[in-house]
Amino acid sequence: MAGHADAAHSNAGKYIQIAVVLFALTALEVALYEVCYGGLKTMAPGLGASLEPWFVEVLLLLSAFKFWFVAMFYMHLKFDMKLLSWLFLFSLIIAVIVIGALIILFGYNRGLWWPGGKW
């Protein structure tokens, strides 16, 4: 039922555009790695050095974009019932809470976040 309706909204052209974006973002991710740590480091040392402190953040941001594109367009969330988006989003929120909390808690336990964190 719902499935037939979406087809009208998106078409091959759009899918191709998104595919291109996804590839571009992936290429950016790899390039970022190469500039900061890999083969390109020597070629553009200044760029690498300035990007390096943001490596993790930028990488996560780029992947988040990719994630969003696939979910919204390939998985039709943008055109389907809102409920499905909420379903997915809620799961993701809990997932992020779990990952984030565990990283923080273990970092703390290992004394990374708080001087007395040893105990």
Binding site: F23, S63, A71, L92, A95, L102, F106
Partner: protein, 208 residues
Amino acid sequence: MTTTTAALDHHDHDDAHAHHTSLPIDNRKLAIWTFIGSECLFFATLISTYLVYAGQSVKGPFPTDIFSVGLVTAGTAVLLFSSFFVVMALDGAQKGDRKKMLTWLSLTVLCGVFFAGMQVYEFWHFYHLGLGYSTNLFSASFYTLTGFHGAHVALGTLWLATILKDAIKGRVPPKKALNLEIAALYWHFVDVVWIIIFPVVYLMQMRS
């Protein structure tokens, strides 16, 4: 297992057609989304394990000794391609363009096989670099995470291949495009998980 059974339970669904559904959405589609929500936590836990144990291995080989950008980038590209392919196949299925559906679906299945093959090769390669399953924390959490992702890819490939088989026999008319749609949703999800795994598990851990 749950996925396939839920999603393939379509005869019950045919039956449900006789009734109305409360939401403008098919049971099976709602079910697969529910299942995907659940899977988020499955992978979140595996990723947490990997991250919590990053840098905690007492002996090597370490990620920096093992990973190289080339192979995994290729794999990532293949998976992204396949997401695009399956969406085209679905477009074909919904519009009743049988040839389009068959072409793109075949390509998708091919990508699945290729990715799975790549992973097998990668495991084999790493194993020969001295990274057994229980070598250290890194290896165990890496193989468990990517192994389960690989199992999902394999399952998805099998599923799509089954639909391809049906489609070749002409059993996937537009009004059954939903059969493909839910498989495609699952497939995209597997792709999306890899979108996270690629930077978090590979790129970030390769920093020297």
